[in-house]
Subunit: 183 residues, 3 copies
Amino acid sequence: MTDESLKVGIVTISDRASKGEYEDKSGPAILDWLSQALVSEWKSNVKVIPDEQDQIEAELKALVDDERCHLVLTTGGTGPAKRDVTPEATLAIADKVMDGFGERMRSISLKYVPTAILSRQLGVIRKNCLIINLPGQPKAIKETLDELFEAIPYCIDLIDGPYIETNESIVKAFRPKSAIRKK
Amino acid sequence: MTDESLKVGIVTISDRASKGEYEDKSGPAILDWLSQALVSEWKSNVKVIPDEQDQIEAELKALVDDERCHLVLTTGGTGPAKRDVTPEATLAIADKVMDGFGERMRSISLKYVPTAILSRQLGVIRKNCLIINLPGQPKAIKETLDELFEAIPYCIDLIDGPYIETNESIVKAFRPKSAIRKK
Amino acid sequence: MTDESLKVGIVTISDRASKGEYEDKSGPAILDWLSQALVSEWKSNVKVIPDEQDQIEAELKALVDDERCHLVLTTGGTGPAKRDVTPEATLAIADKVMDGFGERMRSISLKYVPTAILSRQLGVIRKNCLIINLPGQPKAIKETLDELFEAIPYCIDLIDGPYIETNESIVKAFRPKSAIRKK
């Protein structure tokens, strides 16, 4: 475990948002959620890029390898359409794939819409960073983080990242007893 | 989106059925289900082939690349046995894998039998076609389509296929409001 | 199907247990569960090895190819940490991946802890053997086998292994009617 404070990369992947044709509401929705949920110190690094596999891979690598992010959250580009290449880019730069994240995110979204199965969202590890493909819509981002995030602090512990503390009225981080740090 | 009518490929994969040793009931069960569920125009292309990976790959490619199917439904060959190679063939010709389809199909079948986890069913995209490995048994085909199909019309929309309308007493197609076409 | 009796390999994968720094409780928990659950004849082959991908691959191959195990159960090494390489080793020696096993195991464990999604447990087929990565903790091993095992005897049938009979007060093996052997 490290004493650094948490660094979070937030990447909106959208052709239209990256050209300014469309106001990005998804990146801000992630920032807003984290601002309410995290009580330990954290910094963010926010990007908006087009649906180009090479650019997505380069951005994810830069956030992990150069910026030393412990957590990277992407939004957009996970559907079945031709321009949806976020999972391909994420997989290409992954050290380990965490199948449970994709399964869990689809299962959360399935409570709201049957088309949740069309999402190819992944969770992967690269070096000491957890990268997660969140849904594209602000509403679905919140629904996902509200439930998914309870498993994230312990995952960051296991890959030697900082100890994350949350606002339990938003989400309660789950850790086995032996991993809970006494204050 | 295209104005063509929906083309569906239906492929029974079975050594015995392809030799005529066994009457194929699974392909007809798919046709029957579609006949009741679809109200927009559609055409089908029906095949019965043995459990040979090369032949399955060639047939799937022909249905997508030459016959221009928008949806291909296979039945058979998804178990753990040596001759079960449908998922291997499907994966070999896929552009994108849709993990949510396999998860959802197993989760539907798990309500009926605990051995649902033995199925390696996939959903994939090749070009502008969605290919789905359905279960082998007519009963399980119906149980799966009754629930799974609600997400299929919107998936076909997203890969630029025709707008599918269903008989809502069988299955109600789910689309986000912005994707619903006014009559 | 074969008339041999069931051979089960049990592999604890742990740096500390393999050095004797730590008493292995997980391998014994698997043995104990099987002793209570199986009524047909069986033999076991028990190993404790470190979290080294090469050694895990070599051990799994030896248990399947040389020892002719029909079922291999591993415990340990499935998390996101750097030394967790059990899934990588399992995948490297697999003929077929059974996605339903990983999904089902995470879904069982999710009833107990939200961090179940951090596990990368796999089920795969190599030759005539089913290999399953179980959780690391004795409590989670029992919780998993209590539910998962009902699908295992029929899976072993389908890959030409021995007919397994269980103590129904522990777990009831599920088979389609046509696969149930009359006494």
